[in-house]
Amino acid sequence: MRFRPRSGTSLVELVVAMVSLALLAAITAAFFRVQTHVATVVSGRSESLDAIRTVVGLADRELRFLAPGDFAAAADSVALRAFRGAGVVCDTARGEANVRYIGIRDPDPTKDSLLVADSSALVVGLMASRVAAPSACSLRPGEQALSLRAAHGLVPGTSIVVFERGVYLFAAGAFRYRRGRSGRQPVTAEVFDDATSGFVADPPGAGGGSVRVRLGRSTDRPADVGGSAWPVDVRVSQPNGDTLEVHP
């Protein structure tokens, strides 16, 4: 009898193919599991770094030029006058003051107050603000003319500082900013530990001190996802502040 080749696969071929397929599937699954973990770790660490950079930038911008009376630091928060701009009164008319103004944003009567930068150091409410004709003041480059109505009369030649009262705090894992008594806006992702993150104000010296911000890693995040940069101590010296960081 003559052997007649049959079409299809033999049992051995089938078993080899199935084992190969299983092996390939196992390797692929492990590979994707590892890659997913790597992506999670990289994403989490990137989020942490972004949050740290944000706090470092904000601390430098908001805390550096504060005088001792401009802020109060508690363990988990710092209340401050967040300066938004400054100006000089050019003239006054009909209860409004024309001001040469320069700032990081325009004055907002719903948020801002004015600090009169003379020996009185008065804090007065800002009632109205509108853009004035450029001819209202002799402007220098970068300045704009504004017409301000304040709760207290402003005298020509007086310097004013525009500020809003706010609180930076750590709550629910995020660095947040609260203006006045309302709102609790997150500024960063929820990557911090409320218990180990906070503020310390060094005692003021001749005109200023320094503020330290400690950033602790959220314990909700695995260590490899949270990153290895923790804890981070940010220190901002204010003008004429004590130099407490190093003692050469």
Binding site: F31, V38, R45, F65, S210, G227, R235, S237, E245
Partner: protein, 120 residues
């Protein structure tokens, strides 16, 4: 007489397996490189924060000389050169994982402390 059977030859299978391995290893190497880059970025950021804090405090001193300060795993070195009434302070932070590598170098020209912005 040679009978040609349908299917892949051994050479074809080996070439396919090698190509697949190269592709998988490339992707895996990309992930490892991302982790290394991230770790380096973390070290640089912490070094920057530590260096800035030290530089910040030195900038208010009239004469700081040379020195070092230890901040956790990071050693911050500084030197000061007096030039024409101004002091150029240079702060550098080495990589704790490889001390031969300077992670951050910062410099500032410092003068005598300015008067307070507002009278207290």
């Amino acid at each position: 007489m040679t009978v040609r059977r349908p299917g892949f030859s051994l050479i074809e299978v080996i070439v396919a397996a090698v190509l697949l391995s190269v592709a998988i290893l490339s992707v895996a190497a990309g992930g490892a490189a991302a982790l290394r880059t991230m770790a380096r970025a973390e070290r640089e950021l912490v070094a920057l924060v530590a260096g800035s804090a030290v530089l910040d405090s030195l900038a208010h001193r009239p004469a700081v000389g040379n020195g070092l300060a230890v901040r956790g795993d990071y050693t911050v070195h500084w030197s000061a050169i007096d030039t024409a009434g101004l002091v150029r302070i240079v702060v550098s932070v080495r990589d704790p994982a490889d001390p031969a590598v300077t992670l951050v170098e910062l410099a500032v020209l410092a003068a005598e402390p300015p008067p307070p912005l507002l009278a207290p």
